[in-house]
Symmetry: C2
Subunit: 350 residues, 2 copies
């Protein structure tokens, strides 16, 4: 994927630039870390659709006051297994960061922890939210609702977000097994990437503003609707996410998002997270996951979710990350740097 | 759908016959109720694929000793929010019945209840397991793994079950909003029904024993594999179900099911159930669900999941259930009745 126009940057240097850009946009020092981490994780792992491509959206949302970079999340209620957090118009990653010590304590004591975050912005991939929990031995399920972009149950107009769901499980001797998927055939990020590159998308991905099928990524983004994967089955998942992440949390539904039109503002909704501690449930869990993964590979699976990310992560750690030149220039500009200091002309990624 | 060969039977009479059939197959009196209820609920609500069509499978599994109709479930561990149950080779519905009082108490106290059932047979629809919880005001998510029938993540051979997931939420002024869907394009029950009727299934539903695409329901059932809905996305859900319902519970994976070949034995695996009490999370939940449903309908949704079931349920309560003659004869035979006493020649269902 590397072009001669790309720049190679180390993971640490990329993180410093992203942090600088968020700080420069008005984000409070305590809040910068969790948001920068999720953007850098995606770029580092080759998930370009959710990497620094999205930084401008974060920055824009902060600058126009749509999201509050200075808000500190408030814990509004707590039981033995249920934690409700009001992100107060800040980012979901900050709320998760604040909630994490309590969630870990709940999972240790009762075996179960549920986080309900409301009034939160989530504009990133979901897997970075849960991979760390699985790395600590917990099974994790999470979902976020997002601004309306998708039709449901045979409707022709958008009503739910693409409403991603992510799941992670520990896997002994390996990084966690993690998947993260939107409820749409294609994620909003991928459609955005296609539109930016002038590429068409496959039939079945979406419809235009008149409810007609189209392969134009721009037409889908411009007043049309994405379609759920698996027809009504994907729609069922998306509606479940609206219930879990918005109705239960007290957050806004996808169709209540009042953000300025266009893809450059963050989605304001809620997040649901479930953690289960296998140690409180049944012994031998780790070994059982190994048995399952072996059987899946033996049945001919071409690859496991996350394989590509983990491979790219190792390459990025060893050799740095190739960022294409326009994205890099934008990053430098957002970070207030004149450029050149941390950049090198990239070589071939092997 | 009614033919002149069908018999009309009341819901109560159908339940009496199903109970008699299960008792006659050796099921203990305390265990009959929850299993009969799920079979009757499907037949009553028009879900023929999971109604009395499956009774012969239950009975056969009991008679050959594959499932134990006399087993009483054992609670093996309990925290503030997590209950582990060993069904001891009995039916999952019996384990759920035994667990329900404790789950309700957990949901009341901590807002969250998780049930992990292992060593259980589940051969029925999932929605009857959770609709009652939603009718009591709880949000419910459940899944069961089942014997291997489906390929995963690009593999050509079966490794997971069709691994159904069901979700239910209270809906003020209406019966709960409930969906129940397999992780395959088509459920095993629907493929079985197609095979019984000699019908072909749509392309993409499955492959044959050689991993080749086929539209023959029989070829899919006979050593082939079902395919997940949404490609890798449906496979991700199915693998998650193996983790939640088997690895976490201590149950068997789909590929470890050692049941005799063919569709006439029950699946031996585990069940995961999550309950969340909106009353412990956020006020105004019910009203928010109403707002969501109104928006979905306003965006052109053709119908809500469950609509057809609830409509058929009202008809069945008022007019009885039309059962086709061969199924009815089989039911009478399994129940040890000579026939005629509770049957009437059916009229037209309006």
């Amino acid at each position: 994927m590397k072009s001669s126009q790309s720049k190679r940057v180390s993971v640490d240097d990329l993180e410093a630039l992203v942090r600088a850009a968020l700080s420069r946009a008005g984000m409070a020092p305590d809040n910068v870390g969790p948001v920068a981490a999720t953007i850098v994780a995606c770029e580092r792992d080759g998930v370009k659709s959710h990497g620094i491509l999205r930084l401008a959206g974060f920055v824009h949302s902060l600058k126009i006051g749509w999201a509050d970079g200075t808000a500190r999340p408030a814990i509004t209620s707590e039981t033995a297994s249920l934690l409700s957090v009001d992100a107060r118009n800040g980012f979901a990653q900050v709320a998760l960061d604040v909630a994490t010590p309590r969630l870990l304590a709940m999972a240790e004591a009762s075996g179960v922890a549920v986080l309900l975050t409301r009034n939160s912005h989530h504009f990133a991939a979901l897997w970075p939210d849960i991979e760390p929990f699985a790395a600590r031995g917990l099974v994790a399920l999470t979902c976020v609702n997002s601004k309306k972009r998708m039709a449901a149950w045979g409707g022709g107009r958008p009503v739910t977000g693409t409403n991603a769901i992510a799941f992670a499980t520990p896997r002994p001797g390996h990084p966690p097994l993690v998947w993260d998927q939107s409820s749409s055939v294609l994620s909003q990020g991928d459609v955005l990437l296609a539109a930016n590159e002038g590429r068409a998308v496959a039939p079945g991905v979406g419809c235009d503003a008149f409810g007609q099928p189209t392969t134009s990524a721009s037409d889908i983004l411009d007043g049309g609707a994405l379609l759920p994967f698996g027809g009504s089955k994907g729609a069922s998942l998306a509606v479940m996410v609206e219930i879990l992440a918005a109705a239960l949390t007290g957050g806004r539904f996808g169709f209540e998002d009042q953000s300025p039109a266009g893809p450059t503002t963050t989605s304001f909704g809620g997040q649901f997270l479930l953690l289960i501690n296998p140690g409180r449930a049944q012994s031998g869990f780790d070994e059982r996951v190994s048995v399952l993964v072996a059987a899946i590979l033996d049945a001919g699976a071409s690859r496991l979710p996350g394989d590509r990310r983990y491979r790219q992560r190792r390459i990025s750690a060893a050799e740095g990350i190739d960022v294409d030149a326009p994205a890099y220039a934008s990053l430098l500009s957002l970070a207030g740097r004149s450029g050149g200091a941390v950049a090198q002309t990239g070589g071939q990624v092997s």
